[in-house]
């Protein structure tokens, strides 16, 4: 019985103070702006709520709720969902998978293959693996890189602004 608290301690992920999680604040704004600069070709995705799913990234989820959940993308109200830790993901316009959930990604790429979901991640080599957008740090700044091939595969049309502002575009 004495072992349990120790195990609980060891299993607890480090929880950064949300008020100091600058990366979450920046990522939330990027996701909102990216959503405004992408078109979903699938007609079904242009109706109902605009769903942003978050796997991991508790502070990013909080930031999206706090700053952007009352906004719209076009006429679609934004709905932010904190997803359970699983590779089976419901319909989302944007799915953000955080660094701590990378082990789920191979299955997620497979499950969402050719689905109208933009997968956004934050690890080196993500575009090559199948992500449409990947957050990277360049010169101590948070930027994003973009895979045109992966966006097209998911039925997304990316405007020139998003391309031009990207740190790297993989055609």
């Amino acid at each position: 019985m004495l072992v349990l608290p120790v195990l609980l301690c060891a299993a607890m992920p480090y929880q950064r103070d949300p008020e100091k999680d600058t990366r979450a604040m920046l990522q939330a704004n990027y996701l909102y702006n990216i959503a405004k600069l992408v078109e979903w070709k699938d007609a079904e995705m242009r109706n109902g709520n605009f769903v942003i799913g978050v796997l991991g990234g508790a502070n990013l989820y909080q930031e999206l709720i706090k700053q952007y959940s009352t906004r719209t993308i076009g006429r679609q109200p934004i709905e932010v969902r904190k997803l359970p830790r699983s590779a089976s993901v419901d319909r989302c316009h944007i799915l953000f998978v955080s660094r701590e959930e990378l082990t789920l990604l191979p299955a997620i790429y497979k499950n969402l293959d050719r689905q109208a979901t933009m997968i956004v991640t934050e690890y080196p080599g993500a575009l090559e693996d199948g992500a449409a957008v990947n957050f990277v740090h360049v010169d101590n700044l948070l930027k994003y890189e973009l895979s045109i091939a992966n966006t097209q595969k998911h039925g997304l049309v990316v405007g020139s602004t998003l391309k031009n502002l990207a740190h790297r575009v993989l055609e």
Binding site: M12, T22, M25, L26, R71, H137, N140
Partner: protein, 298 residues
């Protein structure tokens, strides 16, 4: 009358026996009034003694005047409104020291002077407590000048650092309350910078400097909202990066000075995280967690 003065006067032959032959001596009158606690009468008598050529040039006259005015200042209901008394006391004590070529009264006069100078420092501290930084600075300048009048070679670095750190903290508090007042941020930086010029190894000044820059950077990012487009976001990041980078050397120095303190480990973890340095973020997080183990929520 204070023990110090009584002893000083006795030791120096200024006891009533010495003055018994001169009952009309204004210095003697002043001492008697002082002994009985009649401070206003003592003041009139001692001021009169200054007009009397027999006593005007005596160091003991100035010593007694210093003590009379010191007690008048101390016993006034609101001493802060009677700083003129304090000034008169200090001038008198300095005059005593200047005239006391034998050094007979030096210790007593210097002690009393030091006490009064410390009350000026306390006034500065009190002004900081009620968030009147300009008044605090004026009092502190007064304290400094007073100490240097007593000893032009006095080393006041430690006091300067103590005051500047407290002043910087106050400016920071005021800045946090109104982030549009970047002049307060600059003043806080200036105050901690002044401390570091005197004592580059001062832990508090290094840590506070780092925290100031770090918080400024975080606040700029926290202010990002839905109205900001991607180019704006990138400009905000560039400004914040500058502040994060400025924070870093101060936090590193604070950590070097006190490697056992968890707040500098967490501070470094936060700075490196915001600069996107994953390796160092992980390193400092591990070191922080080694000192402050995580406790699960209950």
């Amino acid at each position: 009358m204070s023990t110090a003065l009584r002893i000083a006067l006795l030791l120096c032959g200024l006891a009533p026996t010495a003055w018994a032959t001169a009952q009309s001596d204004p210095l003697m009158d002043a001492l008697r009034w002082f002994q009985t606690g009649e401070l206003d009468s003592a003041r009139r008598a001692i001021d009169h003694a200054l007009d009397d050529p027999r006593t005007a040039g005596n160091p003991e006259t100035w010593l007694l005047r210093g003590f009379v005015y010191k007690d008048l200042y101390k016993e006034s209901p609101r001493p802060e409104e009677h700083t003129g008394m304090r000034d008169s006391a200090m001038v008198s004590l300095l005059r005593c020291l200047a005239l006391d070529h034998e050094g007979v009264y030096r210790e007593n006069a210097a002690q009393a002077y030091d006490f009064l100078a410390r009350t000026i420092f306390n006034d500065a501290a009190r002004a900081l407590g009620v968030e009147q930084p300009e008044q605090a600075r004026a009092h502190y300048r007064g304290y400094r000048a007073a100490m240097l009048r007593l000893d032009p070679n006095a080393r006041l670095d430690e006091r300067d650092v103590e005051f500047n750190n407290a002043l910087g903290s106050l400016y920071n508090t005021m800045y946090i309350r109104d982030r549009t007042r970047t002049d307060l941020f600059d003043l806080a930086i200036g105050a901690f910078g002044a401390s570091l010029e005197l004592d580059p190894d001062n832990y508090g000044a290094n840590y506070n400097m780092a925290t100031l820059y770090y918080n400024r950077a975080v606040h700029a990012i926290r202010a990002v909202n839905a109205g900001d487009d991607i180019p704006t976001l990138q400009r905000i990041q560039e400004v914040s990066r500058e502040f994060f980078q400025r924070a870093l050397p101060f936090m590193l120095r604070a950590h070097e000075l006190r490697p056992e303190r968890p707040e500098t480990l967490l501070g470094l973890e936060n700075i490196y995280y915001s600069l996107g340095d994953e390796q160092r973020t992980d390193e400092y997080r591990r070191r922080y967690e080694a000192i402050v183990p995580l406790v699960p929520d209950r």
